[in-house]
């Protein structure tokens, strides 16, 4: 064989092997059904699980509102049941003309019922399938099914999942009275020693009948809206209870996940008059020790805030510095209360959502061997928790502390 024909052969081999592969596993983007949110509930048949997906309708979604605007729904919600999640997903094929595509999924919503019973049977598919993203938010719908949660509307957004995602990210930034939990954290908490999972708490709230969020154009049935506050506490794969707003923020203080927020304190010498302090920067630190054979946790939180607003004119005869000091003291008290409330709630549930156990595992591995046996039910409940808070008030803006209102 001459050198030239060998070259030709090599080129042919490469080209042929490429073309024989063909367009294997090719899927056209327009032949996909993009799942934007999925709800997991118990089906009527007790052995089965029900999946409800919110599918994007690309043409309706991207249609610009030319000529009166399209009020066509941008999504399509459809349910399917199966013995397992994967089974249910495959069963969608009998209703949905396109292949379900999960990589753009943003939410997994669990109904309260299935969450109370335990998620061990339904979670696996979400971790195993390569199309599933670990960044999807895990939501438990309080007092309702996940499917119903998908039926509410966020009128500002065309897609519910986008609206919920927006609410979560703006809440993290502005309030921090809820938790922002993705599937990755949830899974890690499930598998980790000494850390229990927690999830976003979603609620469906009724709007007052006269309050029409869509204005006069469409005075129809929209009377329900979603709300994201607090947190859902799990023990293992089972939902055990809820955290309310302050407790959820307490959780965030401990985990150092405060993205921003407002601390409202009473005015130093006036009842029922409030000052709002905007949280600017926080730092938290968990220190573990074994004192007399018993575990002890010290939570150190530092918080820096800016003076945001206040009610009414306030004049302190003692001057600015003592005022700032007293506000700082009250801030610290608020933070301490929130942390202690969160710890108290978690102890009641017997679920170490803070990962104190994990911290002991890291820093006191020998003692942890002894502690881990009944950590959630005994060790964590009897854990001595000390809270040290340092709060600082930094800026008041150019207006200083006083505005001569009403003068």
């Amino acid at each position: 064989m001459t050198g030239n024909s060998r070259k030709v052969l090599v080129v042919m081999l490469i080209v042929i092997s490429m073309l024989l592969g063909g367009c294997w596993s090719r899927r056209d983007v327009e032949r996909l059904a993009f799942v934007l949110a999925v709800a997991v509930d118990k089906a009527q048949d007790p052995d089965k699980v029900q999946l409800t997906v919110e599918l994007a309708r690309p043409s309706a979604l991207t249609a610009t509102s030319q000529g009166g605007g399209s009020l066509e729904s941008a999504v399509w919600r459809v349910s399917s049941t199966g013995y397992t999640v994967f089974d249910a997903i495959r069963n969608f094929a009998s209703q949905v003309p396109r292949q379900l595509f999960w990589s753009h999924n943003r939410l997994i919503v669990f109904g309260e019922e299935i969450a109370r019973e335990g998620l061990e049977d339904v979670l696996d598919a979400f971790f195993r399938d390569p199309e599933m993203r670990r960044s999807v938010k895990v939501i438990v719908c309080k007092g309702d099914t996940g499917a119903n949660f998908l039926l509410v509307d966020v009128p500002l957004e065309r897609v519910l999942s986008g609206g919920i995602q927006g609410i979560i990210s703006s809440s993290v930034e502005k309030l921090s009275t809820m938790v922002d939990i993705g599937l990755n954290y949830f899974g890690r908490a499930l598998s980790a020693d000494g850390l229990e999972p927690i999830a976003v708490r979603g609620e469906i709230i009724d709007l007052p009948p006269d309050e029409d969020p869509r204005g006069s154009l469409e005075r129809t049935k929209i009377s329900k809206a979603p709300r994201i506050t607090g947190a859902a506490v799990f023990k293992g794969t089972k939902l055990v209870g809820w955290l309310d707003k302050p407790e959820a923020r307490g959780f965030n203080w401990i985990k150092g996940k405060i993205g921003g927020g407002v601390i409202t304190v009473e005015k130093p010498n006036e009842r029922n008059k409030f000052i709002a302090v905007e949280i600017v920067r926080t730092r938290s630190n968990i220190k573990t020790e074994i004192v007399g054979g018993k575990p002890k946790v010290t939570i150190k939180v530092e918080c820096m805030g800016n003076f945001a607003d206040r009610e009414n004119v306030y004049v302190n005869p003692e001057g600015v510095a003592p005022t700032v000091l007293s506000i700082e003291r009250q801030m610290a008290a608020v933070i301490r209360n929130e942390i202690e409330a969160a710890v108290k709630k978690a102890k009641e549930f017997g679920s170490d959502i803070f990962g104190f156990g994990e911290a002991f595992y890291r820093f006191h591995p020998k003692e942890w061997k002894r502690l881990r046996e009944d950590w959630n039910d005994k060790g964590f409940r009897e854990l001595q928790v000390e809270v040290e808070v340092k709060a600082m008030l930094r800026r008041s803006g150019l207006i200083e502390l006083e505005v001569p209102l009403g003068k």
Binding site: M18, G21, G22, R26, V29, E30, P58, S59, L61, R133
Partner: protein, 547 residues
């Protein structure tokens, strides 16, 4: 009857003296050339005239002028030129006028002494002819060469030699603005089809005796003049020797354009990338010469070749050095990005819409999905379809007569594109991708590089359509490996990136300020590495405190 006899006699005589070929009819080109080369001039003017006429086939543009010269005007002199290739005024004033005018003067001068014919010939060459250059030749071949290049040839009876006089003058384009390498700032002249004018343009930029030119005659039939230019002392002598060798080894019948030479001397003939730079800007060539490169100027084309060049040379415009270095650097960076985009944008689109729908933000994916709903073709067919139609438009745009060019581009680009989208044949996202790619691919200042990128897009799209982004990466890796292996006249193509030459990084994606350009490219220049004084950063003069 007498005429016929005479012709017969001539023929017989010719047969006797020059046995072959008897007649030019039925003889091949190479034999004729060989025959002409073997002929020498003879003393007899008539015979010489016959020889020349035979060689030129008595062509209609051959003009003869019989003169008489010397004492009593008894010496026949013949002046030949090709009509249309000489300046008749120069011919009159330099050649015919002096010969006719000086005849009487001569006869007085030589009254005491009798000059031989060859002495007269020398006198003619050295004293009478007023042309700027006069060459003496004794071979028919050389004489004909001078003749067809626009010289006037003088033959004197009794002397087996000829004098070729410089009287060139023909219709020619003026030096104009460059058409393919436009610059906002910088010299606005471009090379033209005349090699001599082109060397002049270079001389005017580099007024140094060390700018050397060397001529080569290439092409057995066209006898095209090819000049190489370099700066002696800067250029590596081995490089010049290599260029000389490659050009003289060309054996071809015709050279019409520097592209012929390029293809005959380049290092990687199968590479999609050009390894020889062609430019029509004298300032660019001058800059290349000063970096130790060699320029190849071909007669008959305004495009001058520069060797050796690297990949970077094709992403460089002369203007980069004329504008301030921030501008130059930013533009360079944009060009590098554009090169990459032009190569990968359509293939990435195909890969993402077919295989990697998770890669883009949700809203963008949904938007593309919405646009592709109802498009009857799969993405790869759609992309190939649009790319091919763009290539059609581009090619049609070049070839069309200027008057209907704009009409076609409006029909083609605007109406066709818009109609194709609204008819649902193609998605508007892809139209945007193809248009952006087209713009990006023409950012390279050198057209030949743009075309390479154009063509490489098609295999890239095929790879993307079959193997997804994996295929795109494989394609890019193959291109990179290829680029690493190519050389241009001994210089690796990716210099100074691979092999890394840190001292040359000052002039790659970033163009450092002029006062920092202290050295010449190390890969090219070894003798005069330092280019300028290193302490030239302009600064305000140090001021003493004046209170």
């Amino acid at each position: 009857m007498v005429l016929l006899l005479e012709r017969l006699w001539q023929r017989l005589r010719r047969k006797k003296e020059t046995p072959q070929p008897r007649d030019f009819d039925g003889v091949s080109l190479s034999e004729l050339l060989e025959f002409i080369q073997s002929q020498d001039l003879v003393s007899d003017l008539k015979e010489n005239e016959a020889m020349i006429k035979q060689a030129l086939g008595d062509s209609s543009d051959l003009t003869l002028r019989h003169l008489r010269f010397g004492r009593e005007l008894q010496i026949p002199v013949l002046v030949l030129h090709i009509d249309g290739m000489v300046d008749s005024e120069t011919l009159m004033n330099g050649l015919i006028g002096p010969i006719l005018g000086k005849s009487s003067w001569l006869s007085e001068e030589e009254s005491g002494q009798r000059l031989s014919r060859s002495e007269l010939f020398l006198l003619m060459k050295e004293q009478i002819l007023r042309n700027s250059s006069v060459h003496e030749t004794a071979s028919l071949d050389e004489l004909l060469d001078y003749l067809v290049r626009g010289n006037a040839v003088l033959l004197m009876d009794g002397v087996p030699k000829a004098l070729a006089c410089e009287v060139k003058g023909w219709a020619e384009r003026n030096v104009q603005q460059p058409t393919t390498e436009v610059a906002v700032r910088g010299p606005q002249n471009a090379f033209i089809e005349n090699r001599r004018v082109n060397t002049t343009l270079l001389r005017r930029i580099i007024a140094s005796p060390l700018l050397w030119f060397e001529d080569f005659k290439v092409g057995a039939v066209t006898n095209t003049m090819v000049t190489i230019a370099y700066i002696k002392g800067l250029v590596e002598d081995s490089l010049v020797e290599e260029v000389r060798e490659r050009i003289s080894s060309i054996e071809i019948d015709a050279i019409f354009e520097s592209g012929h030479i390029e293809e005959l001397i380049e290092d990687a003939p199968y590479s999609p990338f050009p390894t020889i730079l062609r430019t029509e800007r004298p300032d660019k060539v001058a800059a290349a010469l000063l970096e130790g490169r060699v320029a190849i100027i071909t007669d008959g084309t305004p495009y001058v070749l520069v060797v050796p060049v690297t990949f970077q040379s094709f992403l460089t415009a002369a203007e980069d050095y004329y504008e301030r270095f921030f501008t130059g650097s930013v533009v360079r960076f944009i060009r590098a990005v554009a090169f990459f985009l032009a190569l990968t944008l359509p293939s990435t689109y195909v890969a993402v819409t077919n295989f990697h729908q998770e890669l883009l933000p949700t809203s963008l994916t949904l938007s593309i999905a919405a646009q592709r709903e109802g498009v009857p073709f799969v993405a790869i067919v759609e992309a190939l379809f649009l790319e091919v139609s763009f290539e059609l438009l581009r090619e049609a745009g070049i070839r069309l007569p200027k008057a209907i060019g704009p009409a076609i581009s409006i029909v083609g680009a605007l109406i066709l594109g818009e109609a194709a989208v609204s008819a649902g044949l193609v998605s508007s996202a892809l139209v945007i991708v193809v248009a952006a790619t087209a713009i990006a691919s023409f950012i390279s200042p050198i057209y030949s590089m743009s075309i390479s990128v154009h063509l490489l897009r098609f295999p890239m799209i095929l790879l993307a359509g079959t193997l997804g982004l994996f295929g795109v990466m494989m394609g890019l890796a193959a291109i990179l490996i290829h680029l690493c292996s190519v050389r241009s006249f001994g210089v690796p193509y990716l210099t100074p990136l691979a092999p890394a030459v840190p001292s040359e990084w000052k002039d790659t994606v970033v163009r450092v300020p002029m006062w920092k350009m202290d050295t010449r490219p190390k890969s090219l220049v070894k003798k005069e590495f330092i280019r300028q004084s290193p302490r030239q950063r302009p600064q305000p003069p140090e001021q003493e405190d004046t209170e």
